[in-house]
């Protein structure tokens, strides 16, 4: 697979995110935009962190590197820097697929059942694991151990469900769903909020009381006007 970035204006850093889920061979290439720049002498460096990588001068204005990604250690940010009259650079970010959690908390009630859903976009993970946060620790959820409380279902290749039954206040908090890919793991964050039934019940009862008071007022007004008419 072949990825290319065009080096243009100095000062602005050009970036590209590349998502990889399995072992593959890729080629990253930096090209100088010859409409805008003609440098007399050019010095190109490809780096990952502090480590310099040997590159190939493919054409007059492009330089590329070829990588074989077999495991997590080869992922990261690859940087190509061009030094001429000006300094231009571009970065390739090689990553495992991101898992989207939910930004908004899932609200559920005590005694109820909550379903937490994690999706992986596009890439199929090898395995899913769910973690619960206890203080600062992350504890894996074992659904065979506590079968009547937790149930983990793989609904489809890219979707996993965690079902928590008989919710209590302690079940609230942050949950993580972790997808394992060939090249590494990726986590998504979900929040669960467990409320007691009293919480919405209080405003509800307040509104009901207010409605009853209004009914009483209207009723009293009617009785009053009837009495006034009878007296008159």
């Amino acid at each position: 697979q072949f990825y290319k970035l065009l080096l243009g204006v100095s000062g602005i850093s050009v970036e590209k995110n590349i998502t990889l889920d399995s072992a593959t061979r890729i080629e990253l290439s930096c090209r100088l935009d010859d409409k805008h720049f003609h440098f007399k002498s050019v010095q190109v460096t490809w780096k990952r962190g502090n480590e310099t990588i040997r590159h190939i001068n493919k054409t007059e204005n492009s330089w590329s590197i070829q990588l074989t990604i077999l495991d997590n250690s080869k992922l990261g940010s690859y940087n190509c820097t061009l030094k001429g009259e000006q300094e231009l650079s571009a970065v390739f970010h090689l990553q495992v697929p991101k898992i989207e959690g939910k930004e908004k908390a899932i609200v559920s009630y005590e005694g109820d059942t909550a379903v937490m859903i994690c999706k992986s976009s596009g890439h199929t993970p090898i395995a899913w694991t769910w973690y619960m946060t206890n203080g600062s620790e992350q504890i894996a959820i074992n659904d065979s151990l506590l079968a009547d409380k937790y149930a983990i279902n793989r609904m489809s290749a890219n979707v996993t469900h965690l079902k928590i039954s008989k919710l209590t206040k302690e079940d609230g908090g942050v949950y993580w769903c972790e997808a394992a890919f060939e090249l590494g793991k990726s986590k998504g964050k979900l929040k669960l909020k467990v409320l007691s039934i009293m919480v919405p019940l209080k405003p509800f009862l307040a509104i009901v009381v207010e409605a009853v008071i209004l009914v009483a007022i209207v009723f009293l007004c009617e009785m009053y006007s009837k009495k006034r008419a009878k007296r008159a």
């Binding site: 609200v107 009630y109 405003p203 509800f204 409605a211 007022i217 009723f219 009878k230 008159a232």
Partner: protein
């Protein structure tokens, strides 16, 4: 009969002094009815519009495909119209106030029951069915009561009440806030409570007080007390600042209705019989012509007898050509109203307008529509010409605007179209109820409104899929606007037949 007549003559003078006070009280309650109708519009339309926000929450938690969940919304909004004939029957039997309270109870109960929902069919029944029928009850009772109470300023009051729909845009962010805090179950619980507020406002729907000195078909004033018990609600209005003697008269005039079934709107029947005898006669001259009044009340006797043998489910509107005229126009004008609303934003997007600007279009159109409703109602109430002339004018102009819409290809032009369309839409929407009242009168309003709403419901169900099909077939939104324009132009055609239909009716009645 003669003693009764003489009693009426005696009471004319003091009644003349009392009637401004009674009128003021009646005016106060009329505003109460308008307030209730306003609240109904806000809450009902708000609930219907925010269903889309619940949609997502339901899909995630209760499960079910997108199509299944959208059935709930369809049932809810279509039952609001389709349930109207049934509600009309209930209204005529029980009276508006109990029906409205039942409606509010249904809605609140539906909301509360839905919090326990575990599957989509459950929600269909609890939310769709109960809420839909509740909305129908509320709407029908409020609309008819407004027509009965606000005789002189019906169009303006109707417009004020309808402007409640303009406030519904506030409900969406409010719902989202509640959903974030309490989850969908808590939100439904709180909505149930809010809907319970419609119970006290339904209590404002006191039965209509007809002005006592006008009617006397008093045969036997002694029967007055027994009548009073059966018909206490309709008497309430009468009792506003009336003398005990007038109470007897009020109850006594119900006597002719005992020949047939005793219905709460029996008094309205005699009321209308009098008004039809003297066209458009809203505030009777209390001092003049009391013998004349007595004579008119005698001629009202035979019609009241006939009227009270009406069956409970009244299909007579379907045989009435005036109803046909109205429904034809109503159906097509509703189609013309719904379709552009659905496709305005989409059309703006296809023209390359950003979604922020497109939502400006919608908000501006909404505000313009509300303002134009109020203006149109006020203008119509000035009675410079018959109300349906305005209605026809708005429809024709709206149709022309829609036909010109395909020419709007830039944002300013589209904004002009949206404003113009909103002005004409607001205009004709505000006049729907007043025009119906003008055509058929207040007495039969329940059955007519019920069936008219039923047909509007058919249009509401058919409208969106039809619009979608049009788009799929032609791959452009231009067609939907042309279709809407054509509908809007077809709909006023039926009004050209109105004078001849009225003549036909009179001939039939005289035969």
């Amino acid at each position: 009969s003669f003693p009764g007549e003489r009693k009426e003559e005696e009471l004319e003078a003091p009644a003349g002094g009392k009637s401004p006070g009674a009128k003021a009280a009646a005016g106060g309650w009329a505003w109460g009815v308008v307030l209730h109708f306003f609240l109904v519009n806000v809450l009902v339309m708000g609930m219907l519009k925010t269903f889309g926000i619940f949609f997502v929450a339901f899909q995630e938690e209760v499960g079910g495909s997108s199509e299944q969940v959208s059935w709930i919304g369809s049932i809810m909004s279509s039952l609001r119209f389709l349930g109207a004939p049934l509600v009309a029957v209930v209204c005529r039997k029980l009276g508006e106030r109990p029906t409205s309270v039942i409606g509010a109870g249904l809605v609140a109960g539906g909301c509360l029951l839905s919090t326990q929902a575990t599957s989509v069919p459950f929600l269909c029944a609890s939310m769709g069915l109960l809420l839909g029928m509740g909305f129908a009850c509320l709407y029908q009772a409020a609309a008819v009561m407004t027509a009965k109470r606000c005789r002189t300023r019906l169009a303006f009051s109707n417009a004020i009440a309808r402007s409640g729909m303009g406030l519904t845009f506030l409900i969406a962010p409010f719902t989202q806030l509640l959903l974030d805090f309490y989850g969908w179950q808590g939100t439904l619980l709180i909505f149930g409570g809010i809907m319970l507020n419609l119970v006290p406002s339904s209590m404002l729907l006191r039965a209509v007080s007809t002005q006592p000195p006008r009617h006397s078909s008093a045969k036997n004033p002694d029967h007055g007390s027994s009548m009073a018990k059966e018909d206490s609600e309709t008497l309430d209005g009468c009792l506003d600042e009336t003398t005990p003697r007038e109470i007897q008269l009020c109850s006594a005039q119900d006597l002719p209705t005992t020949e047939g079934a005793m219905t709460p709107h029996g008094r309205d029947v005699s009321d209308l019989a009098n008004t039809s005898a003297s066209e458009g006669f809203e505030k009777p001259p209390v001092d003049g012509g009391s013998p004349g009044i007595a004579k008119r009340s005698y001629t009202s006797l035979p019609p009241t007898k006939k009227e009270n043998s009406q069956p409970l489910l009244d299909f007579s509107p379907l045989k009435d050509p005036v109803f046909g005229i109205f429904t034809w126009s109503f159906l097509f004008s509703h189609l013309a109203y719904f379709v552009p609303i659905f496709h305005l934003v989409a059309r703006a997007r296809t023209l390359g307008i950003s979604s922020m600007d497109a939502s400006y279009l919608v908000s501006v159109a909404g505000i313009t529509e509300t303002v134009s409703q109020l203006l149109s109602g006020w203008v119509a109430d000035q009675n410079w010409t018959k109300k349906y002339h305005y209605h026809v004018a708005y429809l024709v102009l709206g149709g022309v605007t829609n036909l010109l819409c395909p020419l709007a290809t830039t944002f300013p032009l589209l904004m002009t179209y949206a404003v113009a369309f909103a002005v004409f839409c607001g205009g004709f929407m505000a006049l729907v109820l007043p025009v119906l009242v003008d055509l058929v009168g207040v007495q039969n309003l329940h059955s007519y409104l019920g069936f008219a709403a039923f047909f509007a419901g058919l249009a509401a169900i058919g409208g969106p899929p039809l619009a979608g099909w049009l788009y799929d077939y032609t791959q452009t939104y231009v067609c939907s606007f042309l279709f809407a324009g054509a509908c809007a132009l077809i709909s006023p055609i039926s009004f050209f037949f109105e004078p001849s239909a009225q003549k036909w009716k009179l001939k039939k009645a005289n035969l």
